[in-house]
Symmetry: D2
Subunit: 211 residues, 4 copies
């Protein structure tokens, strides 16, 4: 079982490709693994609660979070989640944060446990623009990657956890009138499929030191 | 009859979306107009010769040139072609140019005669990222737009002429490893179809002053 | 005599480097030429009136217009002015334009008559980031370059005319909080001095065909 | 005592603003603190050795590392150093790295212990473009920030540690011919002075948990 999550639209956006993709892969079977897609609220505390419930219920071998990264031209494979919340776009509850931790007393960062290098090679071979990103930002995307890695680590689970950041959809750019890169939902969906195939083929991770 | 042209690959590129699109629309019928697609050589003098032959042979009501604009995120509707050739990437014959005119003694620029504002509105309504561009550069794309407008003007034809600049294809960006925007061929093809529909509905242009 | 013009601040900007530079060079003597600096209103019709009055009064051997190009990282030596006004940021009188001509019935464009290649070489040798730009946009900067070149051409004057587009000042970027390039006023001022030296050494231009 | 470090030029660069600034502040006194400037080799193991020696010798209240971030428009106050080395530009010894740790078995990241928010406010008030950056990359800049924070943490020192990433110098951009932002050495130097004033006024940090 692999859990794939997307987010609801947020800020001035009326759509969110991560939501579309999480819905699109829900119920599929990839590389011998069932795929469960779920859409998370853009909420500084409820998103983590939802992930914790899903992990407890599903006991997935991997969690692949998806989120929107406006302005990016390629799919970003996030290398790390930092223990920082710092954003001016309010979340769904109107919350904003300046230099708060994701988890008080938590480590400065967690590294993603997905096989990023293999995923990048597979995406590139498939002709899908992607790169390994060194920052998932300090908004709810980074927070979700951090809190899920914190959950897995403190519970001593072998679940692999990672995050793909997605460009805007073409229609979102067309509607905005802004000069921003985009990626079609078909290309992104193929990217998620390829990523799930690599994750399924890699198997579960090692236990991580709790410290 | 509407003539659509693309270009062969050039520089370090092994593909060119403009070529794929010119081939894809060749032989179609859009808005009551036959469409003829043709691929031009990336050559500082042969491209114009090929266009002149096609215009003489086909007597099209419009010429829509397509070309690649590496680095751009949206389809660019070119407003104007300037009388300047200035490029360091050699063309197919190895030719480079510094501050040469496209046509010696020609006017400083020609304005596109396509209904750009209507095309932009139609593309935006269709969810295709596009904008009106104020510069087609000083490479062979600009030259081709200039020489075709010069041909139409000096021959006193009513043929409408314009240029769409296209982003890189996703596979070209994936192969390059560079951080560059791309657009899927499906999105671009829909963009060309929408553009042809608007052109067909608009009809031929007025005679332009030769000056 | 060389006339250097800048613009008043506009839009949300409280400053304009072109104004500072026009004031800074006013009254200087460069390469045997007196320099007169003047600040133009950001107004779709009054700017051209002011330039016409200054040209009539001063009979300069060259006119160097300066303006702000938010988002640019280097000094832009504008190659051409196109006969188009198209902007959504209102000018000082609240005026906006969509696809209007700068001069009804005027040619599609005028080429700058400054020795751009020599100026670029001199700036580069001085360590000042600069480039030859193929578009001055469709706001009042382009309009001013167009109307001055139109004036010179229709009056059959030998005055050289050109436009330098300048980056934001560092303090403007700091105040905005946006991720935008800037250039110090000292670097820009040296750039204008170098440009004036090249212009003074080049001398007046040839008469241009009115057509 | 505050230790300021810069780096030697690297890659295709013939200069490095961080080197110029480290030299410029060497021997100054700011906010009651002596400043010692030192230039580090761009070497994957020798840079850390040099820092360790300087920290042992000088026992500074703070270490401010400076480095070059080509392509950035503003001074970046690095929030975090991640335990990753991943770069294709060889260091001074020809070394390249793919997904190596900075310190084997070290934590995924260390957070900077400089008062970033106060420094940002002071720089902004001074009109110097700056921002809090969430990634120092995975080259030697990030490594140096990581290894110094690791040193301070494992030695249980109260020394504050941070990193400022600097744009290219204008002359470096002019020489490259590329479209890249730059910042004058005068603006950067003022930025370093302001940063040192804030650090001196803030005092030493708290002891950090070794984990």
């Amino acid at each position: 079982m692999i859990l794939v999550t997307g987010f609801e639209p947020f800020g001035q956006h009326s759509d969110n490709p991560s939501r579309e993709l999480a819905k699109a892969v829900d119920g599929r079977r990839v590389g011998g693994q069932d795929v469960r897609g779920s859409v998370l609220p853009v909420h500084h505390s409820e998103a983590a609660v939802a992930v914790e419930r899903l992990v407890s219920e599903l006991d997935p071998m991997a969690v692949l979070h998806l989120g929107l990264a406006e302005g990016r031209a390629r799919i970003g494979l996030e290398r790390v989640a930092v223990n920082a919340l710092d954003y001016s776009i309010p979340d769904a509850s109107g919350y904003r944060a300046i230099d708060e931790p994701c988890v008080a007393g938590g480590p400065a960062a967690y590294a993603s446990t997905l096989p990023l290098r293999s995923i990048l090679a597979a995406l590139t071979a498939e002709g899908i623009p992607a790169f390994i990103s060194n920052s998932a930002g300090t908004y709810l995307c980074n927070q979700t990657l951090y809190t899920t890695l914190h959950l897995i680590t403190t519970r001593r689970l072998r679940t692999r956890v990672g995050f793909l950041h997605l460009p805007l959809l073409p229609a979102m750019v067309a509607a905005s009138g802004l000069d921003q890169p985009s990626m079609s939902v078909a290309t992104m969906l193929r990217g998620v499929e390829v990523t799930l195939e690599v994750i399924a083929a890699t198997g579960a991770g090692e236990l991580r030191r709790t410290r």
